[in-house]
């Protein structure tokens, strides 16, 4: 469950967006300059909006009325970057386990073995990132983010650097993730087909407002 409402003026640009949804995947859509980045910064806590609130999974992260603003690194937002960013000096297993060092045991909702099975990583555990295909890297990156026990998973064009075949191969894993894990996903993409397949809720931005 994600609930965001934000009004924020920056120079001549005004962001004025509100959405609340129970959809497991919210797709964020919009050309550059539409306020997408500003909105993402508000959710991440990098920008404190002039007025608004951010609630993820029942937990309030920003509420300008009461002055609440959880610091970015305490929001536990998991990121899957377009370029994977796996740690090259660590095996897949240790990449996956990295975030577990820093999350409290009571916060961890996903078991290591379950995530490995869900994303089909069993055969890759002892390999180094440099030996993985693009699609495999992204699956490891997703698993790594999940195992850090995020409240929200933010995926930024996670398939954009893959060729068509790898994308087709990786998409079903994200669908399984959506259906089997309770973490809401904020999915940023320009690819219409990905968004149609994954997201029931689409937030389309234009000029700082929902279009």
């Amino acid at each position: 469950m994600i609930e965001v409402s934000a009004r924020h003026r920056q120079g001549s640009f005004t962001l004025d967006v509100a959405f609340a949804t129970d959809a497991p995947v919210v797709a964020l859509f919009g050309p550059s300059g539409s306020g997408k980045t500003t909105l993402l910064h508000v959710v991440a806590g990098l920008i404190r909006p002039q007025s608004g609130r951010v609630r993820v999974g029942g937990r309030l992260l920003t509420d300008t009325e009461s002055g609440l603003h959880v610091k970015p690194h305490r929001r536990r937002i998991g990121y899957v970057f377009q370029d994977g960013r796996l740690f090259p000096h660590l095996s897949v297993r240790r990449n996956l386990a990295y975030g577990r060092l820093f999350a409290g045991p009571e916060e961890q909702f996903a078991r290591f073995d379950d995530v490995v099975a869900l994303l089909g990583l069993g055969a890759l555990l002892d390999r180094r990132p440099a030996t993985l295909s693009g699609g495999e890297k992204q699956r490891v990156a997703i698993g790594r983010a999940l195992l850090a026990a995020p409240r929200l998973l933010r995926m930024d064009e996670p398939l954009a650097s893959l060729d068509a075949a790898r994308r087709a191969e990786t998409l079903p894993y994200i669908e399984r993730l959506r259906d089997e894990i309770r973490v809401p996903i904020l999915y940023v993409s320009h690819a219409r087909d990905e968004v149609d397949r994954l997201a029931r809720e689409v937030v389309r931005l234009e000029d700082g407002r929902r279009a």
């Binding site: 690194h73 536990r76 937002i77 998991g78 990121y79 970057f81 370029d83 994977g84 960013r85 796996l86 740690f87 090259p88 000096h89 990295y98 975030g99 060092l101 820093f102 999350a103 180094r128 990132p129 440099a130 993985l132 890297k137 790594r144 983010a145 850090a148």
Partner: protein, 230 residues
């Protein structure tokens, strides 16, 4: 080729002094390299220049400054003793200090280059996984820069091993205490019939230096190797 007992003493002392100098200055070297690679503070260029001074100054000047600073009445020597109880009481520790100061720029340079080559985006990724900055440094930055750190240590070790001018100015050349390999070679060349000994010791110096440079080269290449970003 066999070394005499005195020659062995000089070689052993040199290895010991160089190893101590390298290991003791490593934490400071990493901190300085990190400050220069990442820090944004006023006086950064000045610090950079200051750290490079021993590389460009005549070694005798560095040795003389050390003598002034760390002598019995020297301001740094007295302050270190007063604040932390650190006394460079043994002559060989002073030789190690001179070697460390002379080797420091080389060490910092190698570590700094490898730190600058670390992909900051990987550090950001570690941050999003909940790692606090210290943990990011320990688990991502330092391991990725490790080949450069090792290369810096090897270069510093080789430099420390060959250090002559500053050492002899600072602590003279006392057999078994401060008579290091280069000083022993110099001494041999000053006595009639010392050529054989000077040659033997020179061969040892060449072998160690060559080994160090080759090792450092291999490790540096690994830093620039493939698989930096996945």
């Amino acid at each position: 080729m066999t070394l005499s007992a005195d020659e062995w003493t000089a070689v052993r002392l040199s290895l010991w002094v160089a190893a101590t100098a390298t290991l003791a200055s490593l934490p400071v070297g990493i901190a300085a390299a990190y400050a220069l690679a990442r820090g944004r503070f006023p006086g950064r260029a000045l610090l950079d220049g200051f750290l490079h001074l021993p590389l460009v100054l005549p070694p005798v000047v560095t040795g003389y400054l050390l003598l002034l600073a760390f002598g019995r009445r020297g301001p740094v020597g007295a302050a270190l003793e007063a604040c932390c109880g650190i006394v460079f009481s043994f002559r060989w520790t002073r030789a190690a200090l001179a070697a460390a100061v002379m080797a420091f720029p080389l060490m910092v340079r190698a570590i700094r280059l490898s730190l600058e080559a670390v992909d900051r985006r990987l550090e950001d990724a570690a941050g999003t996984l909940g790692a606090p900055p210290v943990a990011v440094f320990a688990t991502v930055t330092l391991p990725l820069a490790l080949p450069g750190v090792v290369a810096g240590m090897i270069l510093a070790f080789a430099k420390a091993l060959g250090e002559f001018g500053a050492t002899i100015t600072f602590v003279s050349a006392i057999p078994g205490e401060t008579l290091t390999l280069p000083a022993a070679i110099y001494a041999q060349t000053q006595v009639p019939g010392g050529d054989a000994g000077a040659l033997r010791l020179s061969a040892v110096a060449i072998a160690v230096a060559l080994l160090a440079v080759v090792l450092s080269e291999i490790l540096t290449r690994r830093v620039a190797g493939p698989g930096r970003l996945t």
